[in-house]
Symmetry: D2
Amino acid sequence: MRLPVPVRVRWSDLDAYGHVNNAALLTLLEEARVTAFWAGGPEGSPTTAIIDAGPGATSVTVIARQEAEYLAQIPHHREPIVVDMWIGRMGGASMDVCYEVLSPDQSTVYARAQTTVVMLDASTGTPRRLSAGERAAWEPFLEEPIAFRRGGDR
Amino acid sequence: MRLPVPVRVRWSDLDAYGHVNNAALLTLLEEARVTAFWAGGPEGSPTTAIIDAGPGATSVTVIARQEAEYLAQIPHHREPIVVDMWIGRMGGASMDVCYEVLSPDQSTVYARAQTTVVMLDASTGTPRRLSAGERAAWEPFLEEPIAFRRGGDR
Amino acid sequence: MRLPVPVRVRWSDLDAYGHVNNAALLTLLEEARVTAFWAGGPEGSPTTAIIDAGPGATSVTVIARQEAEYLAQIPHHREPIVVDMWIGRMGGASMDVCYEVLSPDQSTVYARAQTTVVMLDASTGTPRRLSAGERAAWEPFLEEPIAFRRGGDR
Amino acid sequence: MRLPVPVRVRWSDLDAYGHVNNAALLTLLEEARVTAFWAGGPEGSPTTAIIDAGPGATSVTVIARQEAEYLAQIPHHREPIVVDMWIGRMGGASMDVCYEVLSPDQSTVYARAQTTVVMLDASTGTPRRLSAGERAAWEPFLEEPIAFRRGGDR
């Protein structure tokens, strides 16, 4: 199962080429993760938003790896674009979050990406294991990871 | 041969965890590319800064793929950090730019990354072949691409 | 009458002090303006979103002046904060947009700000007069401009 | 006396209008302040870079007010632009930093701005008085504050 997360493109995400800048795409993915995974707010979906991360929280989530394929340029949109998320792998202390970034009407795939997120204990700064609650919450979102095209001319 | 490019970390590149944000790292890589590859300024090194890119130029450089391994958190530095760059592959209309992101004294490797850059003709928006001049300029910087660790728990 | 515009704070808007960075506040104001004033999207409120701005549009809106008073630090919020907007002055070719930036529950005033926006004709790049339609649309939102505290120790 | 601080414009500071975004200007000012005022790095000028700010420091500098006049659009530059800084007012616990933002060859004034910086004690979060050392260091940079044009059509 995938979790579609609406994310708003900002005017300043565009660079002078008139499209969302390559680094700004990662910020859009970050906002999708924060919306889906971080607990504590009234919008938190009960099944997914369970990580106690953010300022003053018990967990810190750090990024160990990130990979992105830019398939089409993202123009400015007034309506939110859709970041379709799923879990490609759950490890001991980390997981791979997968994304397809779609136009508001979901007719265009702008990008595909994958992020390895590692859970740290906020007090010690060292990795901690995914909890049983986290595993249970994310289990329904486990799907095949992205098969990236790597190498060759594109 | 590698090209060490000094890049300045900004205070606003840090997020509330007190380190350079994962997306901001890609902005630092972009600044290294602009410094090394784009022609037209007084600082342009004669052997590398030969792409006529930027606003009003004949070429547009777009990013097709990007991959980054975050090895250590990057704190604020007053001095520029060093983005050590080389070319991992030269294709017909694209090339893979490789980076090691180092602390100012080059004692710490903060990140490794690779970007596939595609050259577009600015007037048509379609890919154009690397020119003989570009190939000659970048030939000395050809080295083995990065062997990324992919998959498994980290 | 004021127009309350919900605007989402991003994780990367916070700097290493753990609060929304001073420059990022202006980005939040920009998003409120884009939402309220730019035409063309399905979310456009019929009475206000009437400027044909953005890429490929007939008008360009440029900022001539900006003033902001930072009253309280803005923490990360999962829910959108509220940018309460009104027009403090309508001139020939420009207007002053006023803002109070409020917490999601509107109990805290984080900041007050004012932006002078100038309308340019996109084809000539020169100022153009506010149209009768724009004046009629914004008339209901005319209120007293902000009385900023200026000078002295704060 | 004024202190000219070179600051590099990033490609991503430009928005889709092809010029430095209005909020990004404040980030450029912030970088000038960090370079000029924060102590601790090898580049610190002995007379000015004396505030122990940044992560883990004894002081926190917060922005209470900011005002900017945008006089000309800032294009991308390969060379650093120049932020000419001086002190417009030294109060008990705060000071007004003034800026003229100039093109690399200093022939064009892009913007004028003023920031009220308040010194906080990092441990208590409350304002602290400017020290005698700070006053002595900044005294030579005291000049008339900026006379902003306010109100009327521009």
